[in-house]
């Protein structure tokens, strides 16, 4: 199997990243999985983590080195993930209505064919041919309230993008309702086909532009560009953004697999830091240093007062610890 995979995840404008993603491969099979832990529920990131871990673990166990039936594998793995999240919630005594939930999209490539399954509104795109003219695109249908409204003709695709219910999904892993797991039938891949798995933070701000962004350059460039564009479009409150993109190359047993992480050092050799970049980075850091820090430094300091505006959590002994006595202890 020869393919190129590039993946990246960004926190956007949020405090934590609840997206999780992974990919792994044997000689004969490739698995990619992305999960988007749902905000508004406790521990969304743990649900996403459990989903990804469960699917990856199932793949490790069953792809030896091939999966007997990728479609069945995906359904069973999703069901296992759902059960694991419920067990976790139960163990933590979290009530069902507040239980952690996550979307999940996973794809297996084997024998030159792709098969995928999803629950929720994380998407898979299969892009065949060249954008903007010749590309044909397959994508998963979101298990979301607005997608249903679009299908019913109640609202248009454009209206869906700004609809107040756009974040509501009717299927997910975890939670009190059994997930609706949708499996696509096997699709044969051709040379140059692209498969992208992404969370709504990445696809939602771009809409149809996503396909062009992704297909217009080598993945090592297009994936960071896509995330840049989505982050810019979403503004300061951008959701977490995650993409795994894979370009399929027609089988050639003589050439090695190319795997690249976008943040690997060797990529940076291609994009050296300019003098201006350094100046910008230094200026950015200086801007972040709070005024209180400068002021405190100028006052001189014998003690470290808790700076104003910083709350010290209750129970903190951080500024009032006695020096420890030295207890004697023998054995």
């Amino acid at each position: 199997m020869k393919y190129t995979i590039v993946h990246d995840s960004r926190i956007g404008g949020r405090d934590i990243n609840q997206d999780r993603a992974a990919w792994l491969a044997t000689d004969d099979a490739l698995l990619m999985v992305v999960a988007d832990g749902m905000g508004g529920h406790l521990q969304g990131e743990i649900a996403a983590q459990l989903a990804v871990d469960t699917v990856v673990e199932s793949f490790r166990r069953e792809a030896l080195p091939r999966l007997a039936d990728p479609g069945r594998f995906l359904v069973a793995a999703f069901e296992r993930a759902h059960a694991n999240i419920l067990n976790h919630a139960h163990a933590c005594q979290i009530a069902a209505h507040a239980a952690p939930r996550t979307t999940c999209i996973a794809c297996v490539v084997q024998d030159g064919q792709a098969c995928w399954a999803h629950a929720g509104d994380s998407r898979l795109y299969l892009i065949h041919g060249h954008a903007p003219d010749g590309a044909s695109v397959l994508r998963t249908r979101d298990h979301s309230v607005v997608q249903r409204m679009v299908d019913d003709g109640t609202i248009s695709g454009d209206e869906a993008a700004s609809h107040p219910m756009r974040n509501r999904v009717f299927s997910c892993l975890g939670g009190s309702v059994a997930p609706h797991i949708e499996v696509a039938s096997m699709v044969s891949l051709e040379d140059g086909d692209l498969i992208a798995l992404c969370t709504d933070g990445a696809w939602s701000p771009l809409g149809e532009r996503l396909v062009n962004e992704l297909a217009c350059a080598p993945l090592t460039r297009s994936v960071p560009n896509l995330l840049d564009a989505a982050e810019r479009a979403a503004g300061p409150r951008a959701d977490n953004l995650t993409v795994i993109a894979m370009r399929w190359d027609a089988p050639n047993p003589d050439s090695p697999t190319i795997n690249q992480r976008p943040d690997a050092p060797h990529r940076l050799q291609l994009a050296p830091i300019s003098d201006e970049d350094i100046e910008l980075a230094v200026a950015d850091i200086r801007r972040r240093i709070p005024y209180t820090a400068w002021a405190a430094a100028e006052e001189g300091h014998s003690q470290t007062p808790a700076p104003s505006g910083t709350s010290v959590p209750e129970g903190s002994l951080s500024n009032a610890l006695p020096l420890p006595p030295s207890p004697s202890r023998g054995r």
Partner: protein, 305 residues
């Protein structure tokens, strides 16, 4: 004999508005100096100077960077910027405070507040095997307050160890050295991490089965408490994955410290990330939970049995 080590800036050297006093420590990627600002306030200044990539000889100021190393030097520079960016937005009594960041001598400098005290590592060495439980609880709660703030900024520290916890003279802790810190995002297949310290690094820092998260720093905090009691680091996680020889804290010190503290340590040191306390706050609560902690300390042990 040719020394390949970079020369530190000499005492008295005037670096922007700061006067270098002496070198405090030297690491693979940087030198930390004690300096004074214009008002005579002591500060710690960290200079980006990767030993393997640069050479600053006797009497030189600007390091020489061979062209073939320029890209790696720049990559490290980006990491140094990450550290600066990570730290500069955080104002918390238990996190080292960034005071300034500037460019000079063909490299960059991070200025931090300096406070008198010592590292937890040195403290442990002095008090080997004689740690007061109330002190430990209070001090580690301070560490967790700082860590919670770090996590709240979407950051992971990833190199918490006794050498990176500074104890002020009043006993309150400050988290140091965010050189390994990164945003709490990790995807992809197993990949060795660039920086970790055996004994304190969690299993997921060695292999990629689980992603990194707050639970990764929690493992390190558990390892620090364990080390404080034991006087040395616990068995490295990668070895534990093969053959777990780590004696649980409850077995090792069952009579000397409260069951609550020992159980908490063992929970933090679980190899399986989901089974550890998941947040700094959860661990904080666990450490503060038992007010009568010392009760369970057996009277036999006080008699030396």
């Amino acid at each position: 004999m040719v020394s390949q080590n970079n020369q530190a800036l000499p005492p008295g050297y005037q670096l922007e508005g700061y006067r270098i006093e002496r070198q405090l420590s030297v690491g693979g990627f940087s030198i930390v100096y004690l300096a004074q600002d214009a008002q005579g306030t002591p500060v710690a200044i960290k200079e980006y100077l990767p030993n393997a990539l640069t050479l600053r000889g006797e009497g030189q100021v600007a390091p020489v960077i061979p062209p073939e190393y320029q890209a790696e030097f720049n990559f490290g520079l980006k990491c140094f910027f990450e550290e600066g960016r990570a730290l500069s937005g955080i104002v918390h009594p238990n996190v080292v405070q960034v005071l300034n960041f500037f460019r000079a001598n063909e490299t960059v400098y991070l200025v931090m507040r300096y406070e008198t005290g010592q590292t937890l590592r040195d403290y442990i060495r002095q008090h080997r095997g004689r740690m007061d439980e109330a002190f430990m609880r209070g001090m580690f709660c301070g560490v967790l307050d700082g860590l919670g703030e770090v996590h709240g900024h979407g950051l992971l520290h990833l190199d918490i160890k006794p050498a990176n916890i500074w104890l002020r003279t009043d006993g309150s802790p400050v988290l140091l050295d965010f050189g390994a810190a990164r945003y709490a995002v990790d995807i992809g297949p197993p990949e060795p991490r660039a920086m970790y310290t055996p004994g304190y690094a969690a299993p997921e820092q060695y292999h990629g089965k689980y992603t990194l998260g707050p639970w990764t720093d929690i493992y390190a905090v558990g390892a620090c408490i364990y080390a404080a009691l034991a006087g040395s680091a616990p068995q490295a996680a990668d070895e534990r994955l093969v053959d777990d020889q780590l004696l649980p804290a409850r077995q090792r010190w069952g009579r000397d410290y409260s069951l609550r503290l020992l159980t908490t340590i063992d929970e933090c040191l679980r190899l399986d990330p989901p089974r550890r306390p998941q947040h700094a706050r959860a661990l904080h609560a666990s450490l503060m939970a038992d007010p009568d902690a010392v009760k369970s300390r057996s009277w036999l042990s006080r008699l030396g049995f």
